[in-house]
Symmetry: D2
Subunit: 408 residues, 4 copies
C-alpha cells in the first residue's frame, strides 16, 4: 500500500496543471461572464460556444492532452482509471475545461461504450469524430414519466422492424443536448420484455436529426440552463434507425450500462473533488481578505473549524474515490460495486457541504455569477440525482454488506 | 398559554385561503411558466409583470385583503404580528401571491418604516401609493465591497450640503429593483462618523430616477433572476436629494433598522414555513404517485422517516416563530432579540432541508421549473444570508445567553 | 394564542423553584457522590436510599408540593398537563428530585393508570400508598427476547385459571425495580390472542414478592446502574394473582397503555428539557471560567455558535412539548398522536446534543461523576429507546402525515 | 498508488486473526462479564486481572505476536506504522486483546518514548519489563485544574534540586493507573519557564510507589471504571526522583510528546475502526435476526441506509488513517500534522455514529453489558477528548490549511 501517484500520472498532472495555468485559469472568470452574455436564455437553438474554446481544444490536442480518460494506448494515453483520476480532479476546478481536454461527460462515457462495445462501423462513424472533438453526443436514459431511480421502470420502447429499429418514448436530463456540436444520442429502451430483468433493454445510436426526434426544451437546474451544454428533453415518435445502430445487440443495454458507469463515476467524483478544492480555496481567500467586527472573516466564530471540516471531508472523499478507481483497475467494475456506489453518495454530498460553507463566507457574492460557487452547488445537487439517486446507491452498498452475513 | 389563533386571525386566514383557492392556486403553475417566458433574460429593462397580477391585486383590495401586515386599524387591518403570521404562511406557499395582497418584501418593511418613522410629507408622497399598490420600492443596505455582515462596515456615505444630502456608494442585493413599478429606494449610509457606533448612519428616501443613481445589473441567485422582482446592484455617484427625504433625522439609521427588522423577520420566516409546507405536500403527493422497485417511492427506505422529520422540523420552526411574534407584540422588538435572531437561523435552514428532501423525491423534476422546489431552495439559501448571515444571529443569541451568567 | 403560563402554573413554579433552591440544589452534588458510595455495585439487594430523601419528601408534602402531576383536584393539585409541564422541567434539572415531589416515573404513569382505570379496591390497595409516597412501583412491558419496538411482539402470557390469572414470561428495563420501596409491578402480557390486534393484551398488578417472580439482575445503562432506582430484569414463572388484580378487564391493555403514555411523554420530555437547560448552564459557567490559548474557552472557535444552537434547540423542543401538552388537555391523547410522537423523537435527541456540547466544554471532567453530564447523556440515549425507539415514532408521525393526502 | 497491504502485513494480519479466532473471540463475552464480577466497584486497590490474561499473553509471546507496534526489528517485528495499522484494527475489535499482544495504550506510547528518547539505563530498567509484559505504565499529562486542551496551561511543576527533581501538581485521566501491574508513570510538567514556549516542559519517569505520590481515585467515564485498567487521578506533593529519571533532558517534553503522539493516534484510530467494524457486524446480525411489524428489523425504514452510511464512513475513516500512517512512515510526524490531526477528529466521531446506530438496532440490549456497544460508545466519546479535544485538532488542520494561502 502506498499513496503516491505513478510517475506517469504525476507527469500528466504536471502538464495538465501547466496548461490550465497558462490557458484556462487566466480566462476562467471572463469565460463564465461572456458565456452568459452569449447565451442569455434557455433557447438552445441560439446557443453558441465561447469563441476561445476551439483554439484551446486544438492547443490541448497539439500538446497531447486530449482523451486522457481512455485507457487505450493509441486512442488515448494508456492511463489507468487511477492514473486519470487526479487529472479529472484538476479539470473539475473549471467546469468548461473538460471540453478542452476532450474529456467531457457524457462524451467520455459514450466513447467508452463505443470503444468497448461498438462495431467497427460504429467506431468509425461516431467514435472517431468524438475522439477528434469534432462532434458531441448525449445519452438518453432518464425519463420524465416514471421514477427512473428504478431503471427497470424505463418505458421507452425499441421495436425491431426488418432492418430497422423503431423508437418511441421520452427522455430528459440528457446533458449536452443543447450544444451546437451535438450530433447523436445513445438511446436506451425496452426491446426484449420477454427476457430476464437485466436483458430486456438495448442501446441504440440515434442521430439527433432523425425524423421523429423532437428536442422539446432545455431544463434549468436551479435556474441555470448550463449553456451551451444544457440538459434537454427529447421526444421520440416512431424514430427509425438501421439495426446497425444497435450497440452490441438487442438486450445488452444493462450489460453495457454497468461497464459504462464505473469509470464514469470516478470521473464525475474526481471532478467534483476538484470543485470542492476550488471552493475551499475561494473560501480561504475571501475569508482572509474581508473583515468584520475587527477581524478577518476567517478568524470569526466557527469559520476555521469549518475550513478544517472541509479539508477532512475532501481528503476522505478523494481517498475513497482513488481506492474505487484502483479497485476498478485491479478487479473490474463488478467486484467494485460497493466502492463505486459509495463514492456516488459521498462525493456530491461532500461537495454540497464544502460549497455551502464557501458561499456563506462570500455572502451575497457567493450566490451570483461573480464566482462559480452557485454553479458548483447546483452541480453537486444535481449529482445527488444523476446516475441514480443517493438512496439507490445506499441500497446497493447495504445489500452487499448484508450479503456478507447472509449465511449466519 | 394556549395555542389557537384569535378569532380575528382565524377569520382572515379563512378569507385568504378562500382567495388563494379561488384565484391563485389555479393559475400557480401557469404563472411561473409564463413569467419565465415573459422575462427570459437578466435584462430588467424589459421585464414585465404577469398580465393577471393587476386584476388580482384589485380583487384582493376589493375583498379587504391588502396591507394585512400593517397593525394600523385604518391603513391596515389592525392585526398583531402574531395574528398576521398565519396569513404570511399561507401567502408564502405561492411566491408571487404576497404582491397580490400588497404584503411583499421589501415594501412591507419600507411601509413600516414610513408608518412608524416617516414625516407627514414622506407618508403622503411614498407611503400612500405603496399602500395603494401603485408603486414598489427597494431597500439599499448591503454593499458589494465590504463584509456587510458587520453593518458598521457600511461604506456608503451621506453628506449634508445645505438643504440637500449627497449620497455616494454602492448597494447590491436590493430586492425588487427590477420591478417595473419600483420607484424609490431607502438608502442607508454613514452620515455621522463622529457619533457613537449606532448613531452614525441614516436612512434616506431616494427616487430611482435620481441623477447619479445607476442600476448596474440584476444579480442571479443560483442562476435565477427572480424576474420581475430581481435583486439589483445600484451605484450612487453624488446623488442629491432634499434633506426632507432623510427619515427621522441624521444618525437614526440603526434605530429605524432595528424596529424594521423584527416584524420583517416574522414575515420572512412565516412565508418560508408556508414554502416548507408546500414542499412537504408536493413530496408526499409525488412520493405516493410514482413507484420504483414495486412500491410507491414514499414507502421505500428512509423516506417516511424523512417525511416525519420534515413535519417535526416545520412544527418546531413555526412554534418558535409564533412565539417570537407574540413576544414582539407583548414586549417589543428590543426584548425579543433572542427570539428574532433564533428564527432567522432556524427557519431558512429548516426550509432548505425540507425542500432538499422534496427535490430528492421528485428526482430531476424537482430541480427544474416544473415545480417551485428549486426556487424555494434558492430562496432558502438566500435567506441564510439576507438580513445578516446565520453566524451573526447565532452570535446575538449566544451573547444574550452568556449575559444571563455574566455576574457569576 | 399566547405564550405565558397560567397564574396557577406560575405560582406552583415559583414554589417548586423555592423548594429546590432551599432544599435540593444545595445538596445536589453531595447526594450524587454519596449515593454512589452507598451503592457502589449492581447488587440491588443492598441498595439504600440517600438518607436525606425521606425528610425531603415529608417537607415537600407539608408544603403541598407532591403529586403535582395528577390533574385531580383532591388527590393532586388539579393542574392540567400544560400547567404541570414547567414544574416537570424544573424537577428534571436534578434527577433525584422527582422522587421528593412524588412525581417520579414510572410511579406517575402507574398512578395515572390506577386513577383512571383502577377498581376501588386497586386504588385503595395500591394508589393510596403510592400517592402517599410510601411505596414505589414498576412497569413490565419490554421483553428481552423479542423486538419490543413492535408491541404486538409481546410474548409474555396471561392465562385465566378460575379466579386467578397465571403469568409467564420475561420483562426487562423495568425502571425502579431496584428501589428498596418497590412493591409491585404492572405486568402487561398476551391474554386474548383470539381478539383483534389491539384487544389481545391485559395489564395485571403483581406484588413483587409473588411466588414465581424472580428479579434476575439490574441492567447497567452505559455502565451506570442508576442506583437506587435501577432498571431490572424480571422472570415470571407461573406467577398467580387473583383476577381482581387485572386492570379494567382482560384485553384492555392497549387501551390503558395509550392513555398512560401521553402525559407520561410530556413529563419525560419536560424533565429532559430541564436537564438540557442545566447542561447549557454548566457549559456556559465552565466555558467562562476556564481559559486556553489566552481566552475563556467559551470565546474560542465555534463555542458560542454551539451555545446559540443549544438555546435554539431547547426553545424549539420546549414549545413543541408545551403544544403537545396543550393538545392533550384540549382534545385528548388520541387526537394528539403526531404531537406526542414528535416530542418523543425531538426532545431526547436535543438533550443528547446539548449535553454532548456541554461535556466537550468540560473536557474529562464532563465524563466523570463530578458533574451530572454523563448521567444526562446516558439518560438521553436511553430515552431514544424507552417507550418505543425513535423509528417507531417517526413512523407514527409519517403515517398520520400521509393520511392527510390519502384521498388525493 | 495502490491499496493492498504489504505481504508482511498480510501475513501478520492472518496470524493475529488466527490467534483471535482461536483464543480471544471464544472467550470475549465471558471475559467482559467475569471482569465485571471480579471488579464490581471503583475501588482499584481490589482490582484483579481476568485469570486467563497471563496465559494468553504468554501464548501470544510464544507465537511471536507481541510488541507488533514497535518498528524495531529486534525488540518488535520491524513493522512500519502502515503495516501495523491493520493489526491494531483487528485487536480493536476486542478491547482487552491489545494487552494480550502487549500493544496496549498507554504502554505502547511509553515504550516508544523510552525506545526513541530513553537513556540506556532507562531502557534497561523500564523498557525491558514493559516489552516483556511484566509491568504496566501510565502517562500523566492532563490536569484537573486547568483547561488541558492548551498544553501550555500545564501547571504541574518540576524543580531541579541537586541530583533530584522535585515534582508537584495533579494529573488525572491517567489511563491504566488502576492496573495491578502498573509500576511507573511518565510525568510531564513545567521545568523551564524561562525558555521558549515549547521548551519549558519535561518528562520524568516516576515509580508509582514514590513518596508523595497519592492515587486519589479512579474516574468513571460514562459510569464505567474500565476495570482493571481505570483512568486515575494522581496528586504529587514534593515527589523526588533522581535526575536520571528525566527523559532526554529538561525542556524536551514537547519534543518528545510530538514524536509520541503520531503513531499513537494511528493505533487509537485503527482500534476504533476495529470497534466500528465490530459494531456494524453486530448491528447486521441483530437486525437480521429479530423482527417487528412482520419484517426483520434491518429491512425496516431507513435501517439499510444507515448500514450503508456506516460502511461508507468506516471505509473513509480507514483510508484516511492508513494514508496518515503512510505519511508518518514516508516523511515523518512533523510533515504529517494535518493527517494526524484529521484522523483524531474523524475517527472517534465516526465510531460514535456507527455505534449509536448499532445500539439503536439492539434496543435496550445495546445499552447494557450484554454487548460491548455501550463500552464502545463511551470509548468513542472519551476519544473525542483524549489527546486533545476535537476543536484543538480542527484548529491545527485549519491553521495548516490557511498557511497554504498565507502569501496571497
Amino acid at each position: 500500500m502506498h499513496f503516491e501517484h505513478s510517475q506517469k500520472a504525476q507527469d500528466y498532472l504536471a502538464r495538465v496543471k501547466a496548461f490550465m495555468n497558462e490557458h484556462i485559469y487566466p480566462i476562467e472568470n471572463s469565460v463564465y461572464a461572456e458565456l452568459h452574455e452569449l447565451n442569455p436564455t434557455g433557447d438552445w437553438r441560439k446557443w453558441k460556444l465561447h469563441p476561445q474554446i476551439e483554439a484551446l481544444k486544438q492547443e490541448a490536442k497539439d500538446q497531447g492532452l486530449t482523451n486522457l480518460f481512455l485507457p487505450d494506448e493509441e486512442l488515448g494515453k494508456g492511463l489507468t482509471c487511477l492514473e486519470y483520476a487526479p487529472l479529472a480532479e484538476e479539470m473539475g476546478r473549471v467546469p468548461f475545461s473538460p471540453e478542452i481536454f476532450n474529456c467531457n461527460a457524457p462524451d467520455t462515457g459514450n466513447m467508452e461504450v463505443l470503444y468497448h462495445f461498438g462495431s467497427e462501423q460504429q467506431k468509425q462513424q461516431w467514435l472517431t469524430p468524438l475522439l477528434n472533438g469534432e462532434i458531441r453526443s448525449v445519452f438518453g436514459m432518464t425519463e420524465p414519466d416514471v421514477a427512473s431511480s428504478d431503471a427497470t421502470n424505463m418505458a421507452a420502447r425499441i421495436e425491431l422492424d426488418g432492418d430497422q429499429v423503431v423508437l418511441n418514448g421520452k427522455k430528459w436530463w440528457s446533458t449536452g443536448l443543447g450544444h451546437p456540436n451535438a450530433r447523436f444520442t445513445i438511446f436506451m429502451g425496452l426491446s426484449n420484455p420477454e427476457n430476464d430483468r437485466h436483458a430486456q433493454h438495448s442501446m441504440v445510436i440515434v442521430p439527433l436529426d432523425s425524423a421523429g426526434l423532437e428536442i422539446k426544451r432545455m431544463l434549468s437546474a436551479y435556474g441555470d440552463y448550463d449553456a451551451p451544454y444544457g440538459h434537454g428533453e427529447m421526444h421520440f415518435t416512431d424514430v427509425r434507425v438501421p439495426t446497425e445502430n444497435v450497440i452490441m445487440g438487442l438486450g445488452k443495454g444493462f450489460a453495457i450500462a454497468q461497464g459504462r458507469l464505473g469509470p464514469g463515476r470516478i470521473h464525475h467524483c474526481m471532478r467534483a473533488i476538484g470543485m470542492a478544492e476550488k471552493a475551499l480555496e475561494l473560501a480561504i481567500i475571501r475569508g482572509s481578505s474581508r473583515s468584520a467586527f475587527g477581524k478577518p472573516l476567517i478568524e470569526l466564530g466557527g469559520n476555521k473549524e469549518r475550513i478544517a471540516e472541509a479539508r477532512m471531508a475532501i481528503d476522505q472523499a478523494r481517498l475513497l474515490t482513488l481506492n474505487a478507481a484502483w479497485k476498478i483497475d485491479a478487479v473490474g467494475v463488478k467486484r467494485a460495486m460497493t466502492e463505486i456506489s459509495a463514492i456516488k453518495v459521498v462525493v456530491p454530498r461532500m461537495l454540497e457541504s464544502v460549497v455551502d460553507m464557501a458561499i456563506q463566507l462570500h455572502g451575497g457574492a457567493g450566490m451570483c455569477n461573480d464566482f462559480p460557487l452557485a454553479r458548483f452547488a447546483a452541480g453537486a445537487r444535481a449529482l445527488r440525482l444523476a446516475d441514480g439517486p443517493d438512496e439507490v446507491h445506499q441500497g446497493m452498498v447495504a445489500r452487499l454488506e448484508l450479503k456478507k452475513y447472509a449465511s449466519q
